[in-house]
Symmetry: C2
Subunit: 470 residues, 2 copies
């Protein structure tokens, strides 16, 4: 032991680390110490963690070390330090959901996910920063500071799982678990150059997660590579319907033939030129790997997606009202979240019912496309990480739109449909900002989706690039 | 043939009529002629039918007569004249839904129910009057005249299936099929002294029914006795889940032990004295028949039911907007329906979501009560038929309430829960107005519910009382 540098330890894959732990070439204490050192050094600058569990993590690491010495190693996550977004209930550990309203909230019990990770032997380093109540896609936070992009600290990390993405990208733990209601795992993953997976709706329990919009809330992993994401998913996933294949880390490499859909509409409208090029290069790479690329048509998708958004905002406003947070504690919200909640209160029930119909149209459009192909290939974000504080973009066409609307545009459809979607690093812009591609797959099709993502990842260098921290 | 008077023919039970037809002691032509004679005589006064299919019904009756002569009789409804509420699509036959907006609408195809009845060999006499768009509980109609109570023509029939109830009560056909979104089968059945069954939500197809609120719309029979209601249900019901008992006319008489719940809360608040007495006498009768009567508690039910009503009005407003009827044809609605639609447009999505939670509370209250008993016994209406034009009642307590609110109070819970509920005649007030009792049973429990109702009916005289028409 002791022959690995902090940075080597911090950027191992989970599989590599598990192997070294098993062979007792490293100890969980070293892994935890390396992660904690990086958290101590950079988290205050990048606003990554809201709570760091220094003492608890070290104690757990020592216990894991003893168990490993006795030969008790219980799976690939055993002794692996990870983090959790701060909207997962953790028993006796403050859970703020990035809000002032829950600043002092200490849950009486663990969320299902916290419990699963603990049972898998993962070591919790702390709770990560996030967009307030997960109600925003930039990761900017007026109460705890905005999580900063490690590739360019004047830029946003993306959100709402911003702290989780930054932590994973910078070696503050091997992986994190976040939530995704409109893109909140995939967007920060793309902007920070890591892998983010939003599984099929209902696959991972949301029990003990502070809700945003229950019909659209998903839980999933952020990791530095596809295999690690798969290992995390194995630990937190619930039951699959009979006949569906569970994703298994070891099974992903099985050679398969894929057909990928290239959407002619919606997903390539108003996309940054460098990002569009990167996705086209990625499509070529998929072809070299033997995948067929077929154009798919999804007309009127933009309109249906826009209308269906009424469902999300109304559910959020209902939750905050039912908890007695809004409007009674209006002044305790950030301006953006307060604005969203006000909007949600203005949605009429008739519009809500119309939105249900629009959502069905979105579902039908994807169902039709996914009859012909195994997954749809899109950019994860149509723009690279904007600067912190920037709220409007005009670069993509004549009309000026909001950063929020642009960032959500590619990811929201998979929340409306509940289809699994993954973001995988696929390049860097000329300014050195990460680019992510998104694959949207079939319901319960995580195994196939991860296999496609892995085939791409193994043929490309992007997941091995890490940001240089000052 | 020819030995039965018109009135004898008109008030036969379906079983008796089917027996006479089979033995060729009567002909379908006689049955149809008797019904048509009554329609011709009294429908214009009582506003019962919107469309009478004189010629078509006679032609069908003649064809049925020929088939019967050849020995082709295809079940208990074969050759039996019935009617349909005018919100069921009937191919090439005008279907107004009691509205001015659809005054000239001729459907391109049959509703599922119209098709099922036709396949069963029933003969359609015509389409019955109803509250406009089924959006009202009195049967008053500004476009086609208000259907009148045959027991007291200055009083309402109840609605929205008012024409159906009056037709059945007065021998204008053996039975009718109506719809019930808040009580629209059971209320007119109770006020007109007949049997009305609202089956479990989803049991009978609503395909081809002009919707009121799709989550709460139910289709069911109105008949002069429980057995006839069962025969109608057999003809129109879809599939039961595996393991559940389908109601069969012949099986209802099987001796069973019942436990009835007597709700201490909600259902006996503010009930007319004579009606309360009649239900208590009915409870005694059930006890004599061997049923156990147990008090059940349903606290806070009134509040939850009130809140959940937001769902119904919002869905109705959404439908009328999505069809382009409202607001563009506002002036073509009656004042009451226009008022309801305006109200529905004012419901916010947040209130709609709160209403979903209230509905779940109603469901939980009934699920808890129905663990202890087989059915809950209540009045069908807390008041006897009000006068036409009366909109307020003050008789039941200090506060004045609307006729609409009072009439819906007992029946709406079974729409919110989807539980099957039946109204059975159980007395007459001192003014000679019918009183109905309601039994609310378990989901898919029609067989047991009908058996309880039949046991009561066979031990009491009320279903044999018919109104005297001038």
């Amino acid at each position: 032991m002791g022959s690995h540098s902090e940075s080597e330890l911090a950027f191992l894959s989970i599989r590599q680390a598990a192997g070294l732990l098993r062979r007792r070439e490293i100890s969980p204490v070293e892994l935890v110490d390396a992660a904690l050192a990086r958290i101590e050094r950079w988290s205050p600058k990048l606003h990554v963690f809201l709570t760091v569990l220094t003492k608890q993590a070290r104690t757990q690491a020592q216990r894991a070390e003893r168990e490993i010495r006795r030969g008790n190693i219980k799976g690939p996550l055993y002794g692996i330090p990870i983090s959790l977004k701060d909207n997962f209930w953790t028993q006796a550990i403050r859970t703020t959901a990035g809000s002032k309203i829950l600043a002092d909230f200490v849950p009486p019990s663990d969320s299902d996910v916290a419990q699963s990770l603990s049972q898998a032997g993962a070591i919790l380093l702390g709770k990560t920063n996030m967009h307030e109540f997960a109600y925003g896609i930039t990761g900017e936070n007026p109460h705890y500071g905005s999580s900063r992009n490690p590739w360019a600290p004047d830029r946003i990390s993306g959100g709402s799982s911003g702290g989780s993405a930054v932590a994973v990208a910078t070696g503050m733990g091997f992986a994190s678990v976040g939530t995704d209601t409109g893109g909140s795992i995939r967007i920060p993953a793309a902007l920070c150059g890591i892998v983010g997976l939003k599984p099929t709706f209902g696959l991972v329990s949301v029990e003990g997660v502070v809700p945003l919009s229950r019909s659209f809330d998903h839980v999933g992993p952020l990791a530095r590579n596809v295999t690690d994401a798969c290992i995390l998913l194995e630990a937190i996933a619930g039951k699959y319907p009979r006949g569906e294949t569970r994703p298994r880390d070891r099974a992903l490499r099985k050679k398969q033939k894929f057909r990928l859909g290239w959407p002619r509409d919606f997903f390539f409208e108003r996309v940054d030129g460098e990002i569009e090029s990167a996705i086209k290069v990625a499509a070529k790479k998929f072809e070299e790997l033997g995948a067929g690329i077929e154009p798919v048509s999804m007309p009127q998708l933009a309109d249906s997606v826009d209308r269906a958004t009424h469902l999300v905002v109304a559910e959020a406003s209902y939750y905050h009202q039912s908890q007695g947070y809004y409007p009674s504690r209006s002044q305790d919200y950030g301006d953006d979240v307060r604005g969203h909640l006000e909007w949600g209160h203005k949605v009429s029930a008739v519009d809500y019912l119309a939105a249900i119909e629009s959502r069905q149209k979105v579902e039908q459009a994807f169902a039709a496309a996914l009859k012909k192909v195994d997954a749809i290939l899109t950019p994860t974000s149509p723009i690279p990480a904007p600067r912190i504080g920037e709220s409007q973009v005009r670069t993509l066409g004549e009309r000026e739109t909001t950063v929020r609307a642009e960032l959500l545009r590619m990811t929201r459809p998979a929340n409306l449909t509940g289809l699994p979607a993954i973001s995988v690093p696929c390049g860097l812009t000329s300014e050195g900002l990460p680019i992510g591609l998104q694959l949207i797959g079939e319901r319960w099709g995580e195994a196939r989706l991860l296999a496609m993502a892995l085939a791409y990842e193994e043929a490309t260098p992007w997941h091995r690039r890490h940001p240089q921290l000052g």
